[in-house]
């Protein structure tokens, strides 16, 4: 594979009509519990998809299967034309997959090795994937730090000296280090306070515009979904209950569950008691 330095030039040659990620009839069963059932979707290059649903609806399981942390019970996942439904057998295959799909997790406190600074971390990722010399790696580390908005001191500091938002920026830089085509954001801004959340979302939006990366946004925060994605899939108990353009799904929900999710966001005139009644009616 010549994805060694896959810059914009090679990207342009990729067929824009081909989905960058394709999921077919994905199913995951834990014991007797069906976590995800018959999930199918395509993600086009540069487009972003939101998967929303309550806790336990199976959205994180989908994310873990796509990035290879969980093995699907059945169904196929194809990223950049490469099947990734089964665990990688060889190191080279594993690394190639790492250059296609990356993930940023929710908790910024456990997602960084406490003994490694951001610069060391990115340097290690670059060493595993490419054979750049030290000067090149240093340059890329500096570039990535700038992309995610970390200064020289922050990128060289250990995680314990960084705030949650700064750690999440390091995690985003780590995910970008392999120059992936798809970035999964698994509740990546949920643990941050609102102002930091907005900053990180801006960083993510800029990155998408600059790099043509596709996002899969796993979230329960409908405001974030609206800001970052074009398409939305709504999951309930492992099954897709509604899908469509993000604006349409959020403004004019068709499925009762989506209506309920939408109505659960507190706003003017919002009454807890009325929500309780609706949830009871749903169940």
């Amino acid at each position: 594979m010549s994805d060694e330095v896959r810059g914009p030039a090679t990207r342009a040659t990729l067929d824009d009509a081909q989905p960058v990620l394709s999921v077919r009839n994905l199913r995951k069963v834990f014991g007797t519990q069906v976590a995800v059932d018959d999930m199918t979707f395509d993600l086009m290059p540069g487009r972003s998809l939101a998967i929303v649903g309550e806790s336990g609806s199976g959205k994180t399981t989908v994310a873990r299967m796509i990035c290879g942390l969980e093995k699907p019970t059945s169904g196929t996942i194809t990223a950049c034309g490469r099947d990734r439904s089964k665990p990688a057998r060889r190191g080279s295959e594993r690394k190639a997959r790492g250059r296609e799909v990356q993930i940023v997790f929710q908790d910024p406190y456990s997602s960084l090795d406490p003994r490694q600074s951001g610069a060391e971390l990115i340097d290690e990722v670059l060493r595993v994937h490419h054979d750049h010399d030290a000067a090149d790696r240093k340059r890329i580390v500096a570039e990535l730090a700038e992309v995610v908005g970390l200064d020289q001191r922050q990128i060289n500091a250990l995680p314990k000296a960084l705030s949650g938002g700064q750690r999440q920026r390091v995690a985003i830089a780590r995910a970008l280090a392999t120059d992936p085509r798809v970035l999964i954001l698994d509740e990546s801004v949920a643990a941050l306070d609102v102002s930091i959340q907005a900053q990180v979302l801006n960083v993510l939006a800029d990155i998408r515009d600059d790099r043509g990366i596709s996002y899969i946004l796993i979230s329960h925060d409908l405001a974030v979904v609206r800001q970052l994605t074009e398409e939305t899939i709504v999951m309930q108990r492992g099954v897709v209950v509604e899908r469509g353009e993000t604006g349409q799904v959020l403004d004019d929900p068709q499925h009762p569950y989506t209506k309920l999710l939408r109505a659960s966001v507190p706003g003017p005139g919002w009454k807890p008691q009325r929500m309780r009644d609706r949830i009871a009616a749903q169940a």
Partner: protein
């Protein structure tokens, strides 16, 4: 009164975590280091430092107290006690260190393999660990002495095998906890191999616990090896060894001359205590620095 203001960011930047761990040792830690350095010097240079031949006895000096150059007097066979202590340090300290090291290596490997692969590997290894757990170290050492003949090697090997389940048990829990951290998952998604993840990320993050286990086991090993030598199944007389000296000293003790046993026992206690204190201090201060 002045208040010391510690800027955590500045502190985090100016020194590596290991450096700062050392800085927090306190005086108990430093005294322990002193004792350990002294013991190591004895173990390495003992035979050179010994003023007299440790095995050359003169029965006319049996159980004679300290005088002149004989700072600790003579044992029941008229041998210089100080010389025997200096020479005996080597088997006592290096023997115990080797036992602790082998036990930690076996135990850590088991812990990492079980925590990493989980499932059937974990279940199988846990059964093996439980079986070995059932044998007390001394019993296994006696068994080894019966099969391979009494020697420091067979006793040490038996102890190392008997100790390794303790290490595996404790470290497995820590390794499982670390394995579940999302930074490991993130690096797996990066395509990092199991070997790199274990050696470069998982292992360093449980290293303080490994060191703590090693120091605890060193203490156990030193006492158990001395006990085995005392039983006559470890280091063989007349070779000087602290455990052997405690054993040989018992005849003098019964004759009202306790100095031989007491000096050897004090050496054992001092080294065991120093290593345990240091292990404890390293553990607590590295926790304070890293979390």
């Amino acid at each position: 009164m002045s208040i010391e203001i510690v800027d955590p960011v500045a502190e985090a930047e100016e020194a590596s975590p290991d450096r700062r761990t050392l800085r927090r040792l306190g005086w108990v830690g430093w005294i322990s280091i002193g004792v350990i350095v002294l013991a190591l010097l004895m173990a390495v240079l003992g035979p050179i430092l010994a003023p007299f031949d440790p095995n050359q006895g003169d029965l006319s000096f049996a159980n004679v107290g300290p005088f002149g150059q004989h700072l600790l007097g003579f044992d029941g066979q008229g041998r210089d006690v100080l010389s025997r202590l200096l020479v005996g340090a080597r088997t006592a300290i290096f023997g115990a260190a080797a036992v602790a090291l082998v036990a930690v290596v076996i135990g850590t490997t088991l812990a990492l393999v079980t925590a990493w692969f989980g499932g059937k590997v974990d279940a199988t290894a846990s059964v093996v660990i439980d079986v070995v757990f059932a044998f007390p170290g001394i019993l296994l050492a006696i068994l080894a002495a019966a099969v391979f003949g009494p020697s420091l090697f067979s006793a040490g090997l038996a102890l190392a095998i008997a100790y390794s389940p303790y290490v595996a048990r404790v470290l497995r829990g820590a390794a499982l906890k670390e394995r579940a951290m999302t930074y490991i998952a993130a690096l797996e998604v990066q395509g990092f191999g199991a070997w790199r993840l274990c050696a470069r990320h998982l292992l360093p993050n449980i290293s303080s616990l490994i060191v703590a286990q090693g120091t605890i086991l060193f203490g156990f090993a030193m006492v158990d090896l001395a006990a085995i030598s005392f039983l006559g199944l470890g280091v063989q007389t007349p070779q000087a060894d602290w455990g052997v000296m405690v054993s040989e000293g018992k005849t003098s003790l019964l004759q009202g001359y306790p100095l031989v046993s007491i000096s050897a026992v004090l050496c054992i206690v001092a080294v065991v205590a120093a290593v345990s204190f240091l292990g404890d201090r390293l553990d607590t201060s590295s926790k304070a620095v890293n979390r």
